[in-house]
Assembly symmetry: C2
Homo-oligomer: 216 residues x 2
C-alpha cells in the first residue's frame, strides 16, 4: 500500500507554479496576482502567497519595488554569469561521480546517448531536452552528494527555460552528443579530470549556441 502523501496546498501550489514557470507559461515581467491564482486553482490566497514567497526565496521569481511578483527575464549577461558556476559545480559532480560508477551506470549512460541520437535525428525537441537532462543528472546523482545535486538542480531551474531553444541550433544538435560520448569514455577509463573537462566543454558549447540568441 502506497504511502499516504500528505501534500499541503502550499506544496501543490508550489509545484503547479513551478511547472508553469519551467514550461514558460508565465510571461516574464507579467505580474502574478495572488487572488487571481487562488481563484484559478480553486484555493484560498494563503497557500498561493506562501508558494510565491518560496519561489522568490529560490530566486525563481522576483519581487518588484511595487511588491508585485514577476518572473525575472533571463538576460544574456545573467545567463553567462551562471556559466562558470555551473562548470565548477557540475564539473565537480562529474569528477566525484567517476570513481563511483560501475558497468551498470556506463551501460545506462550509453543507452541514453543512443536515445539522444534518435531524438536528434527525429527533430524531437522535447524528447531531446528530457534525455539530455537525464544524461547529466544520472552523472550528478552518482557524485553521492545530495547537497551538490540540489545546488545543481536549483541552477538548472534558473537557466532551464532558456534551454528550450537549444535544440534549434543545428550545430549543437548534431555535435553535443560527441561531448556526451567523450564524457562517458573518460569516466569509463576512470579519468575524472578529463570527464570534468569534457563536461565543462559540453556546458560551454551549449552556452555558446544559446547566448547569441538571447536578448540584452
Amino acid at each position: 500500500m502506497s504511502r499516504i502523501e500528505h501534500q499541503s496546498l502550499t506544496d501543490r501550489a508550489y509545484q503547479e507554479l513551478l511547472r508553469g514557470l519551467t514550461s514558460g507559461r508565465f510571461a516574464p515581467m507579467q505580474p502574478l496576482v495572488i487572488r487571481t491564482l487562488a481563484e484559478t486553482y480553486g484555493i484560498s490566497a494563503t497557500p498561493i502567497r506562501e508558494a510565491l514567497q518560496r519561489l522568490v526565496a529560490e530566486r525563481l521569481l522576483q519581487v518588484l519595488p511595487n511588491r508585485s511578483i514577476v518572473v525575472p527575464q533571463m538576460t544574456r549577461s545573467r545567463f553567462l554569469e551562471f556559466l562558470p558556476i555551473r562548470c565548477a559545480l557540475e564539473g565537480l559532480a562529474a569528477e566525484m561521480a567517476t570513481p563511483r560508477c560501475g558497468p551498470g551506470d556506463f551501460a545506462r549512460l550509453n543507452e541514453l546517448i543512443a536515445r539522444i541520437s534518435v531524438t536528434a535525428e527525429n527533430f524531437d525537441a522535447a524528447g531531446y531536452l528530457a534525455l539530455n537532462r537525464e544524461f547529466h543528472f544520472t552523472i550528478y546523482e552518482k557524485s553521492g552528494s545530495t547537497e551538490l545535486m540540489r545546488l545543481i538542480q536549483d541552477l538548472w531551474l534558473k537557466v532551464g527555460p532558456v534551454f528550450t531553444g537549444l535544440f534549434d541550433t543545428e550545430h549543437y544538435r548534431t555535435h553535443s552528443n560527441d561531448e556526451h560520448r567523450n564524457i562517458l569514455s573518460a569516466m569509463e577509463r576512470g579519468d575524472a579530470a578529463r570527464a570534468r573537462s569534457y563536461l565543462v566543454q559540453d556546458l560551454t558549447y551549449a552556452a555558446d549556441a544559446l547566448s547569441p540568441r538571447m536578448q540584452d
Copy 2:
C-alpha cells in the same frame, strides 16, 4: 533624506530568526512553534509562518515528518559534504577576483590580516570570526558575480554556526593567517590559480580543525 525602508513584518521576522539561528540561540531539534514566536515578537502568526517557510526553503530550517520545524543539526558528514562544494565555489571566486583587484583592495586585505593577528593574540573570538569572514567576502565580492556571492553566502549560513568553535583550536588560530597571507600574495602577483589553491587550503585546514570536534 534617506529612502524610506518599507520592510514587511515577514522580512523583519526572517532577519530576527536568522540572527537567532546564526548565534545559536535555538537549540537543534527543538521545535520552533509559530504561535510562541508570534507572541514573543508581538506580531501575528502569518509573518512568522512565512519567515519560517522561507528559512526552510533555504534549508536553514527543516520540517520534520510531524511538520514541526526545527534547526537541523550539522553533523560531521554533512559538514564534510559541503567542503568540496565550498572549495569549488569559493576557489572560483578567488580566481575570478584576482585579475579584478587593485592596490586599494590589496591594502584593505592586508589591513584585515593585521587586524586578524591582533584578535588572535588577544583571544578575541568574536572579532576573529567577524574579521575572518570579512577577509573572505572582501575577496568573493571582487569576483564581480553577485550570483556566485549569493551561493557562497548561503553556504556560509549553513556551515556558519559550526565555526564558532574554530577559534578554540590552537593550531588553526595561530596558522590560519598564514594562508591568508599566501592568498593575498598570490593575488598580488596576479597568480589566480595559486590564489585559488591557497584558499582551498585555508578551507581545508579549517575543516580539519573543526570536523574532529563534531558529533556523528
